[in-house]
């Protein structure tokens, strides 16, 4: 089965009485990076989790080429779709290698063992994120940025056509933010993956995403190319903050600058 796309159709998720995701429909095609943006609590993480099939869905469907994703057993799902979770505390005692080889779970033989082929794929994934030289170190000894790269390597080791990332740049400095976003774009544009990435930084989204989806209070406010979605009106309204949107001095992308009028902070 050749997977071409990740398609969400009218996805609705509730936490108790609260509507966390309200009728979300969007499509992530292979070869494209779709950035999810929106203020805190808008449902970005929930959308990533729901799309990965680990949340009970109130209504709506997740499809990968016709097949209904949520009805597949976890092992088949893990062959279609990999997730880089939001910076989490990883078990510190595992080595980098032991952590990344867990990405090979859906391909284990019936005795739960990995093969030489798995080793080769793990080595390639570690090379990809430039972490092969510390493969034998314990995860607990790594910096936050290095840990984030290990999580990406683990997702790559799953060899899936679809990749979801939940704010992978949150704890990275500028250098690593750029390096990570470049790798992610390569994965989409050269390796033909379908990538959906939740981002806080609107300028990273503007720079690297092919499509931007704006979530506000669980609803999909807008989806389209960065220049279409990242307008001053939309952003000001979504974030309750006046912004300037100016053209990037060197690139054909918008640049978002918050305007701090010197008023008292608004935490509503």
């Amino acid at each position: 089965m050749e997977i071409k796309t990740l398609k969400l159709e009218g996805l609705t998720v509730t936490y108790g009485d609260r509507l966390a995701l309200d009728d979300i429909s969007l499509e992530v095609r292979r070869g494209k990076v779709v950035a999810l943006i929106g203020p805190n609590g808008a449902g970005k993480s929930t959308l990533i989790r729901a799309a990965s099939g680990i949340l009970p869905i109130q209504s709506g469907k997740i499809r990968t080429n016709g097949a209904e994703f949520t009805s597949l057993p976890p092992m088949l799902r893990a062959k279609c779709l990999a997730v880089v979770p939001q910076a989490v505390s990883m078990p510190p005692a595992f080595t980098v290698w032991e952590t990344v080889i867990m990405g090979r779970t859906p391909y284990l033989n019936f005795l739960g063992q990995t093969s030489a082929k798995d080793d080769a794929i793990v080595r390639k994934a570690l090379q990809r994120v430039n972490a092969l030289e510390f493969a034998d170190r314990r995860v607990g000894e790594l910096s936050g940025g290095e840990q984030q790269r290990i999580l990406l390597a683990r997702a790559l080791a799953q060899s899936t056509p679809i990749l979801l990332l939940d704010e992978p740049t949150a704890h990275l400095d500028m250098q690593y933010q750029v390096a990570l976003m470049q790798t992610i774009c390569q994965l989409a544009h050269e390796d033909n993956l379908a990538v959906m990435i939740a981002l806080h930084d609107l300028n990273l989204a503007a720079h690297y995403a092919d499509m931007v989806a704006l979530l506000v209070q669980g609803r999909l406010e807008a989806i389209g190319r960065p220049t279409q979605v990242l307008t001053p009106e939309r952003i000001s309204q979504a974030y309750h903050l006046p912004v300037h949107v100016v053209p990037h001095p060197y690139l054909q992308v918008p640049l978002i600058l918050p305007i701090d009028g010197g008023e008292s902070p608004n935490f509503n």
Binding site: P73, P74, A93, T95, M102, G103, G112, G140
Partner: protein, 344 residues
């Protein structure tokens, strides 16, 4: 070459320790059998030749007394080491041990209940205590599991709390039975401290199926336990059917523990410290940790059993006393020496 050695070093070390422990256990006892004689007896068995003159008694002591006892102790230690590792991984809790969700207290209650009845000295009469212990241990696990369940999932916190609460109840009930009955208080106390070594080839055959099933399942699920260390969400995103795997792991570990406990009594501490010592020495990968903890649990319990046999000769100590008396200082020594932080 170097990497191959590094990969197998833990196993070679642990296997070597186990073989040494077995040899000591066969040689040491109320009569000391010299290594030379031990070798002669072993060789005549392997070659199917008659025992050399004068060694028939030693041969009998080994084949009918020390060997079955050593094997039963080995199996018990392996079960406690292996299931302790599994429980710690399953609950992601360094304080978890094989008895956490009530296997011990349930089994203890079953054993003491059976002891309060005067059974005749037939086969079934002798098997009444271990059988009752086993049944109660498994019933406890089922009860605790169903009490802790919320819908389709079984939250770890619920499981531990239900286990602890039910354990308190069963322990209190056991104490009540011991105090209110007139009969064999000493035997019951002995059992509760891990001193009920009913070793014979028959008992080994009786526990073996459960241990093979339980420990065998654990051995093939090291990878699953590794995944569970990342939490249920990530484990599922990586392709693990989480609820099913956790349930089966729980059943397998409890099965092995219950089988071991029912014939050897409640032996504390070993299922807690052996996994930690292995983790400190050889790393956190459960694929290695499980077999290593089984080997180490076996050797450690054999050594403790030797001590239990000789310290108060001719009387025998319950081995549970030795595992805690000797094991706690040993564990603290290992913990003190360790240089790495965050080994857990």
């Amino acid at each position: 070459m170097n990497s191959i050695l590094r990969r197998f070093l833990p196993f070679i070390t642990n296997l070597g320790m186990l073989i040494l422990a077995v040899i000591f256990s066969l040689a040491i006892g109320s009569v000391l059998i010299s290594p030379e004689n031990l070798w002669q007896i072993l060789r005549s068995w392997l070659m199917h030749t008659p025992l050399p003159a004068g060694l028939e008694t030693y041969g009998f002591i080994i084949s009918d007394i020390r060997l079955p006892r050593t094997i039963l102790v080995l199996l018990t230690g392996a079960a406690l080491g292996g299931s302790g590792t599994a429980y710690q991984g399953l609950f992601r809790n360094p304080l978890a041990d094989p008895y956490l969700i009530g296997v011990a207290s349930g089994g203890g209650l079953g054993a003491v209940l059976a002891m309060s009845i005067n059974w005749s000295y037939t086969f079934w009469g002798l098997m009444a205590v271990p059988l009752s212990a086993f049944l109660f241990a498994m019933l406890t696990v089922l009860l605790v599991y169903s009490l802790a369940r919320v819908g389709k999932s079984v939250p770890t916190t619920n499981l531990i709390l239900a286990g602890v609460a039910f354990s308190a109840f069963a322990t209190a009930f056991t104490s009540f039975l011991i105090i209110s009955s007139e009969g064999e208080v000493r035997r019951a106390l002995n059992w509760l401290m891990g001193g009920s070594n009913q070793s014979s080839w028959q008992t080994i055959l009786a526990v073996l199926p459960y241990l093979v099933l339980g420990l065998g399942y654990l051995l093939f699920n090291g990878h699953a336990l590794n995944l569970l260390q990342f939490g249920d969400d990530q484990a599922q995103q990586l392709g693990l059917p989480v609820t099913r795997t956790k349930t089966l792991l729980l059943v397998a570990a409890s099965l092995a523990t219950a089988a071991a406990v029912s014939f050897s009594g409640i032996i504390g501490f070993i299922g807690l410290i052996v996994p930690h010592v292995m983790r400190l020495w050889w790393g956190a990968d459960y694929r290695k940790l499980l077999p290593l903890a089984m080997l180490a649990g076996g050797s450690f319990l054999i050594l403790a059993d030797i001590l239990a046999r000789i310290v108060l000769r001719p009387q025998e100590l319950p081995v549970g006393i030795v595992t805690a008396l000797a094991g706690a200082p040993f564990f603290l020594w290992v913990l003190r020496r360790t240089k790495t932080q965050g080994y857990w």
